[in-house]
């Protein structure tokens, strides 16, 4: 039996697992990283968190440099940065694909949740509730196990690598949340919108497309962006089912350096990547929420 599920193995038992990685040439860069990071953040809060991180790193690195010959923590992190960046690129890619699929499915499911047909409505509701109340990790395992590694369509074989299955696994909860947001947004519009469109001769589908959906966009945008940030922060889950991303690369880096003192700075560094990516999104979400709240 083909078992696609790869439980995380100890990377030390997998020599040759690491791609060839040349350490960065310049070691003078930490300052550069600092300024680059700063330009991403606009609020005091972000700067405060970042400063705390840099201070703790600096302190660790100073202690190390004082102790002797080994490379300092910052230098080590810098050395692994290209690999971690590549890993984070996978996280971003997985999050964007899952979000796209989940959004499209969720919008459709949400519309079905307000269908005039009672059976369709109930089925859509059940599907939504099922996926909304399932742990994301369990959904991921199910997708990895249940989706075949390749699918035959009209004689051509379409491969289904693990990362694609993971994308589908993560898109399911996104779909469920979107479906609920969509239903809520549709039902929050006054019934007069339906009635006036009806009395002007619009069909139900036309009313949905031209009158209702355009008005839901404004209401959906903040929770949608929030959901994206939550999804991005959940992407490290895919490392548990054997898909490469920043966490699995971080573990690999730690294994190859074999330095206990690097553990905490490394994971802090990984946190930093997520923070820098997600913090501006939540800031923007708050701004949009405030703006819409004032307007309507």
């Amino acid at each position: 039996m083909y078992l696609p599920l790869k439980l995380p193995q100890n990377p030390e038992q997998r020599p040759g697992y690491m791609p060839v990685l040349l350490p960065m040439k310049s070691h003078a860069a930490p300052v550069g990283v600092g300024t680059m990071v700063q330009s991403f953040l606009s609020t005091k809060m972000g700067l405060f968190v970042l400063a705390a991180f840099l201070i703790s790193l600096g302190a660790a690195s100073y202690a190390q440099a004082a102790s002797g010959a080994q490379l300092g923590t910052i230098a080590l992190l810098w050395k692994w940065t290209p690999l971690l960046a590549k890993g984070f690129g996978f996280n971003v890619l997985i999050s964007i694909l899952s979000m796209a699929i989940g959004t499209v499915l969720g919008v459709c499911l949400g519309i079905l949740q307000v269908s005039p047909n009672g059976i369709i409505r109930r089925v859509a509701w059940l599907v939504t509730q099922f996926f909304r109340n399932s742990p994301w990790l369990v959904l991921l395992f199910y997708c990895i196990l249940l989706i075949p590694f390749e699918i035959e369509v009209f004689g051509t074989t379409i491969p289904f690598p693990g990362w694609l299955k993971a994308v589908i696994g993560l898109s399911l909860p996104v779909m469920a949340y979107m479906s609920e947001y969509m239903r809520g947004a549709i039902q929050s519009l006054p019934s007069g919108q339906w009635e006036s469109a009806d009395s002007l001769g619009f069909s139900r589908g036309q009313t949905m497309r031209m009158v209702i959906l355009p008005q839901t966009v404004k209401r959906l945008l903040p929770p949608w962006m929030n959901l994206y940030a939550v999804l991005t922060m959940a992407t490290p889950l895919v490392s548990i089912v054997g898909v490469d991303e920043i966490m699995s690369f971080a573990r690999a880096a730690l294994a190859s350096e074999n330095r206990v003192d690097l553990l905490i700075p490394m994971y802090l560094y990984v946190l930093c990547w997520f923070f820098i990516y997600c913090f501006p999104i939540s800031g923007l979400t708050r701004r949009l929420e405030n703006r819409f709240a004032v307007k309507s």
């Binding site: 007069g192 006036s196 469109a197 009806d198 009395s199 002007l200 001769g201 619009f202």
Partner: protein
Amino acid sequence: MSWSEDKPIVSIKDVKKSFGSLEVLKGVSIDIMKGEVICIIGPSGSGKSTLIRCINALNDIQGGSITVEGREVHDEELDKLELRKKVGMVFQQYNLFPHKTALQNVMMAPLKVLKEPKADVEKRARALIKKVRLEGKENSYPGELSGGQQQRVAIARSLAMRPDVMLFDEVTAALDPETVKEVLVTIKDLAAEGMTCILVTHEMGFAREVADHIYFTDKGVIVEHGAPEEFFDKASDPRTKEFLSQVL
């Protein structure tokens, strides 16, 4: 059955309507001739809105019949779109589409429902906006207009479908006293042009001025009706008298 102008354009016969066990209309009959303006008045909860909504099938009925230009409205076979083209409706809460400008609101139904050419529709829409005295507000969004202005856009939007009958359900009830007048003037213009209008209103002075016929409803039945002068001055039913003494 063919319809001709000597027969009622809207004929309501013994209509019964219930919401669950609550009987809201208990056999209402009204005939309206083409070009007539009728006002329906009565206490809150007497079923005025329900009646007017039954005329364009926003509500279904449990008994009786309603015909518009000879066609039964509550007929399974009815082409809803045919009815929508004949009957326009204006609501108390305007119900404009907030994401569209005034002009787009007026243009939308003729463009998307009747599928008429855009140039024609736009010309007509601009003329209608002028007619409701809102020149210069074509590109304003509903949120940027006053209640009275929004209601006039809503009237223009209904007229853009070229209806034969207009239904108005307490269209001034949500407005400030100062803006009520501008909407009433618009409706008066329409009536003067020969539009068949069915109005639910609490504006007694206006009803007296524009209506050809007044119907007083209470608890789902028509208690009394007549031409404005005899209705307001010679009401005989005690319920009508009591209502009039409260509102006049």
